[in-house]
């Protein structure tokens, strides 16, 4: 079946996803918020809770939370102010993995302004060759903490099932992405969905359609922390298509796990603690190699990196990422929550036009 | 690596990426800036502006404050004539009569002669560029100053006939030099002691040992108390006084009419060397010859154990061809040390 879109530009998958999510949100199921891509979402799914990705996309950062200054990362400060205005009234708990210094300070700020139980899981910033019991215990104790906070039993079977299901989801999503069957817009929706992995697998089974022919579009890799839907709109309106998404809401959430482990906790540690490749970790080269390899294997002819203002892991790495990847590169820094749409349109438009001319020139040769 | 960094490594016995390239661009900078020499000598802003403009144009690796060798003598009271198109010349030494010596007062760099302007020029250069470029303040050595106080002919005669008088004069000149060097240091400049009259082209090695070495050494000892690196510049032929020059304790020696291999062989383990493209080459030779001469100098210089600065044997002439100076500097910058210890 060819991909079709409703009047809002939603594909069948997106339309059905929204319907299912609306039902899920009405179900009264307890909600657990999660923030960063290194959050073991399986812990939430194993507890039978609804994972809520905390993207305060419709809150404008008019008032900074507490005493946070304007030179704080705009994503982190917007998220913290979201709690200030009780933007997430239904959360039973909040969970996140550790990445950068500002992220952990944001968590402290949130913990100060809300009574919602919160856990920041300490994960290694370096790449370990072997499992460290310290970090393994972090995940294990978080699992028990969630169970205690939510009043659910600790079940290794349900955790194993959640891990296995999510891994199946990752495998399938990454396969579909390679084949071009899943758009980046759909990918973002899956990444931030309130449905668990089982629900998402079922959804995809029912709604996946033949990919649209986007061969005329400029193929791009998108990097950065988090980007809002308007950015994808702008890219598409400018004649581009994001074929690889290396942001914290894209393909990097659906990387196939590399090495199986004997217990679900070790699987989680392996995946989130050891294999997760991102610019906040040290050394930074493994992440850069991975981003470059991915961008090239997906056939990207250019890279757009968008980071929230004052986001250090992406913003301060932009130059080395650009030099390492070696493709035409556009770096944009935007205030999270108040995108300057016309400026973005101008710059992205100019970038895609340049790539288009380059492609035409190559074709002519 | 900027020039300041390059020099800093050299001065702590480290090899930088390459030898610094520093032709002695002094009053030549006035011609570059279109400023007349008298103004260059008397107006600190004019001097500083000239130096900055020249450095921006040619890219050599230090700034220099130097007008003429008689600045201390002039401050003592000797009369110098400033003439259009040329450097000041001694007209009337203050010690024409030996008896005058009794009333001589050591000049204060803050108030006497052109010294205040001299020091102010150093300070201005340091303020503007001292983070990127070393500023060298040229201090006439006592023997050269003595020539300005007594007149060169009388001085040379007195070396034989009235050495006691000369020692007295040299003592005063030394105090004057120490004060000026001190003021230079406090203006942010590194001292270059300049002693053209003590050259082997003028006096014998024995005379150097008796009348130049002890007094130059006193200045260097004073500056070494503050751990400053001191450059000694003596133009002309100094090949017969190299042992004595090492004994002065100078940290760098700017040489002129000696073959680089010879001086490196004799002194390269003891002192850093600065030199020595002949200034007249920058007037007379072709660019090709200058390039080859610089290459040859660099090939020898990078082997000097304590370090080397590619320079000219003496001041770049007032009417030097800019293209030729460019050639020398650009070729000098291509000399790389094969291996850095860092």
């Amino acid at each position: 079946m060819n991909k079709s879109y409703n009047e809002h530009g939603d594909s069948a998958l997106l339309k059905r996803l929204r319907e299912l999510e609306a039902v899920e949100l009405q179900s009264g199921k307890p909600q657990v918020g999660w923030i960063d891509r290194r959050t073991p979402i399986e812990l939430i799914e194993a507890a039978g809770e609804m994972p809520i990705r905390l993207f305060p996309s419709n809150i404008h950062n008019e008032k900074l939370p507490g005493a946070v200054r304007s030179d704080a990362c705009s994503f982190c400060s917007t998220l913290a102010s979201a709690f200030d205005v009780n933007h997430f009234p239904h959360l039973s708990a909040i969970l996140t993995g550790s990445t950068c210094d500002q992220m952990r300070r944001m968590c402290e700020e949130v913990a100060r302004t809300t009574t919602i139980p919160m856990r920041l899981i300490s994960l290694p910033r370096t790449y370990r060759r072997s499992i460290d019991s310290y970090f393994l215990n972090q995940i294990d104790s978080t699992w028990h903490w969630i169970a205690e906070v939510l009043g659910v039993p600790v079940s290794e079977d349900s955790l194993a099932e959640a891990v296995e299901t999510r891994n199946r989801l990752r495998v399938w999503v990454s396969e579909l992405r390679r084949e071009g069957w899943l758009s980046t817009r759909e990918l973002h929706a899956l990444a931030g969905s309130v449905l668990n992995a089982t629900g998402l697998l079922k959804l995809m089974d029912e709604t996946i359609q033949t990919p649209e022919d986007r061969s005329g579009s400029i193929r791009l890799a998108l990097l950065g922390a988090v980007v809002g839907a308007p950015v994808l709109d702008i890219i598409e309106q400018s004649g581009g298509v994001v074929v690889y998404d290396g942001t914290n809401q894209g393909d990097s959430l659906f990387v196939e796990p590399a090495s199986p482990q004997d217990t679900p906790i070790r699987m989680l540690y392996n995946y989130y603690g050891m294999e997760s490749l991102e610019p906040a970790r040290r050394p930074v080269m493994p992440a850069l190699y991975y981003l470059k390899k991915s961008a090239l294997s997906y056939g990207a002819s250019g890279v757009i990196l968008i980071n929230p203002t004052h986001c250090h892991p992406w913003g301060l790495s932009a130059k080395i990422i650009k030099e390492f990847i070696g493709l035409p590169f556009l770096h944009l820094e935007e205030e999270y929550g108040s995108l300057a749409i016309s400026r973005l349109s101008t710059r992205i438009g100019a970038f895609t036009e340049m790539l288009s001319m380059k492609r035409t020139g190559n074709d002519n040769r | 690596m900027n020039p300041r960094e390059r020099w800093s490594l050299l001065l702590i016995d480290e090899l930088p990426d390459r030898p610094p390239v520093w032709p002695l661009v002094t009053s030549f900078s006035a011609s570059v800036a279109g400023i007349d020499i008298e103004r260059y000598c008397r107006d600190p802003e004019a001097l500083a502006t000239s130096q900055i403009k020249a450095q921006q144009l040619f890219g050599h690796e230090a700034l220099a404050v130097f007008t003429h060798v008689g600045v201390i003598a002039e401050a003592f009271g000797s009369n110098y004539i400033y003439q259009a198109g040329g450097l000041p010349e001694l007209n009337k030494p203050v010690l024409e009569s030996a008896a005058n010596g009794r009333s001589l007062r050591v000049p204060d760099p803050a108030v006497d002669g052109v010294l205040p302007a001299y020091i102010e020029a150093m300070r201005l250069l340091y303020e503007q560029a001292g983070d990127r470029l070393p500023v060298f303040g040229f201090i006439p050595c006592p023997f050269t100053t003595a020539a300005g106080l007594r007149g060169i002919n009388d001085l040379l005669t007195d070396l034989l006939l009235d050495p006691e008088l000369i020692h007295k004069i040299l003592g005063l000149a030394t105090e004057g030099a120490i004060k000026l060097a001190d003021a230079a240091m406090r203006a942010g400049a590194l001292p270059v002691l300049v002693d053209p009259l003590a050259s082997g082209s003028v006096i014998s090695p024995e005379a150097f040992r008796t009348f130049a070495l002890p007094y130059t050494k006193r200045i260097i000892d004073h500056l070494h108390r503050y751990d400053l690196d001191v450059t000694l510049h003596i133009c002309g032929d100094t090949s017969r006084m190299l042992d004595a020059i090492i004994e002065t304790g100078a940290d760098l020696f700017s040489f002129d009419k000696i073959e680089p291999e010879q001086i490196i062989h004799k002194t390269g383990n003891y002192i850093r060397l600065v030199g020595n493209i002949p200034p007249h080459c920058l007037l007379e030779s072709s660019k090709i010859d200058i390039g080859e001469a610089t290459d040859k100098l660099a090939r020898s210089g990078i082997l000097s154990p304590k370090g080397f600065v590619i320079s000219t044997g003496c001041e770049v002439p007032l009417h030097c061809s800019p293209e030729k100076l460019h050639t020398m500097i650009n070729r000098g910058k291509q000399a790389l040390y094969p291996q850095r210890s860092a």
């Binding site: 704080a72 402290e108 130059k319 | 690596m1 210890s341």
Partner: protein
Amino acid sequence: MTTDNQDYSPRQIDWQQWHQKYLDLPPGLIEETYYFRHLGKHNWSRYLFPPSTFVPYGQKLLRELRFDNSEAALRLWGFTLSEWERIYRARQNGMKVIALMGDIGALAPLVYSFPGTVAFYPDCLWWTPFMMQSWELFDEAQSAGLGEDCCFVRAALGGFRREVWFPRPDLVIATTGATCDDLAAVIAGIENLGHNIHYFELPRRSNIADRYQTGSDEDLIEFLAGEFQKTAESLATVTGTEFDEKRLRNSIVKSNRLRDTLDRLRVMNASSVLPPIGALEMIFADFSALSSYGDPDEAIRVIEELYNEVASRTSFGMGYPNRDVRLVWATPPADPSLLCQVEAMGCRIVGSEYLINQSRPLLETGSDPFTALAKGLLNGSLMGSSNYRADLIIREVENNFADGVVISGIYGSSHCPWETGLIVKALRSRNIPVVSIDVSPPGRKREQAQSLNRLKAFCEMLSAKKSAKATRSFERVPHAEESAL
């Protein structure tokens, strides 16, 4: 105090005055003051030189600072300012050069347990643009992608790229985790420069709402002890010397001697009636606890001499007059002239939280040395929450009877935007006056003037408050004649 005609009364003098005063020092004293004594006496290892020695080599800011007039202070200055040359001399004499990044004092005792090593912190290059009044290192960092959105520590990346400010290290030990993101960016920037880098994993303390803790997190201590052990293995490989526990214990003892002296110095400085030494001397003394400026034995001599000087002044009731307002300073000012400026406003710095808290407490000597180092590291200023840091500052205020707090932050850094407001709030909730400024980069005189205006207003307010309080106290005490009525 060894010269006959030395002025014994404590004063702050400028570099020109030190230039003159220096001539009064006996030459023998200068000859006998040298570092790396195990290498014998050399011309290059003397370091008792005045600030004017360093001015012609580009250290412009020295002309604006005010220095204590004691020989002990001179020795501290000479020792501090000669550090970069010392690292090169170490290499020239066959010592292994170990660059430490991010741990700020915790790893140096381990490095020094290996003979023939010298440790230094490239992070401390952040002072250099200010000392030289130069943007060269910042420009170099900018060309590598670290611009004004990164804290001044980006000068360290400039230093690595220039390959001038220190010799190429034999090993870089880079701490990652509970450090600021700016330093993490610097560490990323040096990766492709071909350095031999050992990464030290430093998890933050795990309790989000934690208050000040001293070694209560046992799992973390065990983990960190393991990290120190792994680091020891890397050091053994680089130095070609096996790790020796006894040497580590001795190194810890030595580090403790320095830390203890510094602690007593701080207490004495704060508790003296008159400030016996300046804030500049104190901050550079404090920072000696990080890597001993490359020579632990000499650092001990320098700090002990400083301590003796301060003790002597205190016992005679001597110090700088007209410094009534007592301040705690939080976050080290990259521009050290700010300390002099504030002192000139009638203040004295009686306490500090310079982000180097891990270099302060004594390390345990009775237990496993790796565990001792790990416990020491738990005191790190950035390891815990912002509340922890706020508590450290409050403790400094209370212990030292401070009248107020100055926080000098950096716009664009990772921890300042989050913790500054919280610290201000915490202080104000305890009625502790506080002012927060951002340190302006070199050359931005107008920006700096604004900060100085705010500081001046703050100091005047505190001074007026103190005077009013003193007046009220006076008025409450009845005069003798009145009480007799």
